[in-house]
């Protein structure tokens, strides 16, 4: 999950962005969020979270993921992405469906056997 540096000129008006690197960084964010939402779903199901608690758990996992991604990008979004929103918010809703699926699956297998 290596993020690649891209040159961005912060002092001038037009920003120079290496689009290949930016896209590969976005992909690594997407993969890590998807993977974490699947694992989080299985964990939530095994632990027996129901209802609201489960969704809260999902957002906690996503926050931890955002924090980890920000730490990996050395807390300076400018050198790896074009905006902070991408690091923090991208892919959260997409992972929600996978989370719910694996949460239901694990919950049923473990608790309603």
């Amino acid at each position: 999950m290596a993020t690649q540096d891209k040159r961005s000129d912060t002092s001038d008006f037009p920003e120079i962005i290496n689009t290949d690197n930016l896209q590969s960084n976005m992909k690594s964010i997407y993969y890590s969020r998807t993977f974490l939402s699947i694992i989080g779903g299985v964990i939530a199901g095994i632990w027996g979270f129901t209802g609201f608690t489960g969704f809260v758990f999902y957002f906690v996992v996503m926050l931890a993921a955002s924090f980890g991604l920000a730490a990996k990008a050395k807390f300076s979004a400018d050198s790896y992405f074009d905006s902070w929103n991408r690091v923090l918010l991208d892919g959260i809703l997409g992972g929600l469906m996978s989370f719910v699926l694996f949460w239901t699956f694990a919950y049923d297998i473990v608790h309603i056997f």
Partner: protein, 250 residues
């Protein structure tokens, strides 16, 4: 009715797991089949030429701030020149090309093949689920939903006192349909045709050669609009600063 139903273990073994496994396998199969079908395309020379010209113009547009003004302008004239510029298409030719594209059988067949390969497995699987797995409670979703969802989620179950959390296998099918997209993107790599939303975006945004005259005209207009601003003259100062910082640290 008791709030906590105890469901048969056999349901777990013979409904939930096989349905998920079947959907994963069908998704993988569809990915490989779409790859095979896509490789048997005969490209049209003219369409490719125009497509590549459009790509070059787009590159010029996106990297315009990296080259000095004079070279940008000379490149732009090469593209948009009235007489022999790459992007200039005279009006009669434009209409002829459009008519040809719409009658072109290859393009229509490709679109149809892609649509079919997407719709048929979903329809078949849905019919299979309905036929075999209807009429009993399949799973319990861990979160409560409002009673309005009852008719949607509990299709085969005819008891109205059962909690809305207990759903039929049809809703398990839909849950799998949406939830496995992320899973597929992990195991199949980036390019997989299993994501409906992505496929729609690709088909509408990437009409490669499907409407050449319109895209050429659009590129020409956008090239004309650009105001050139060279970002690099300050680069020397920035490089100087960076090197000075490095030299201080040594």
């Amino acid at each position: 009715m008791a709030d906590d139903l105890v469901l048969d273990t056999a349901i777990r073994n013979w409904v939930l797991v096989p349905l998920s496994v079947v959907m994963v396998l069908i998704g993988v199969l569809r990915y490989f089949v779409s790859k095979l079908i896509r490789s048997s395309q005969n490209p049209d020379t003219k369409a490719i030429k125009e497509g590549q010209a459009v790509i070059r113009a787009r590159n010029l547009r996106s990297a315009a701030h990296l080259i000095p003004s004079k070279s940008f302008r000379s490149r732009r004239i090469y593209f948009t020149n009235e007489e022999n510029g790459l992007l200039y298409v005279p009006k009669e030719e434009a209409q002829k090309a459009q008519a040809q594209m719409f009658q072109d059988p290859n393009m229509a067949m490709d679109m149809m093949k892609k649509n079919l390969s997407m719709i048929i497995p979903q329809t078949l699987t849905f019919a299979w689920v309905n036929f075999f797995f209807s009429g009993f409670v399949a799973a319990k979703i861990p979160f409560p939903l409002t009673p309005r969802f009852r008719s949607m989620l509990q299709n085969g179950i005819d008891l109205s006192t059962v909690d809305v959390s207990y759903v039929s296998s049809r809703s398990w099918y839909f849950l799998n349909l949406f939830g496995l997209r992320g899973f597929f993107s992990l195991i199949l790599g980036e390019e997989n045709a299993t994501d409906d939303a992505q496929r729609m975006m690709q088909m509408s945004g990437g009409g490669f050669g499907f409407d050449p005259s319109k895209s050429l005209g659009a590129e020409k207009d956008s090239l004309d609009i650009i105001q050139h601003e060279w970002a690099l003259p300050k680069m020397e100062h920035r490089a100087q600063d960076v090197l000075k910082n490095l030299a201080k640290k040594l």
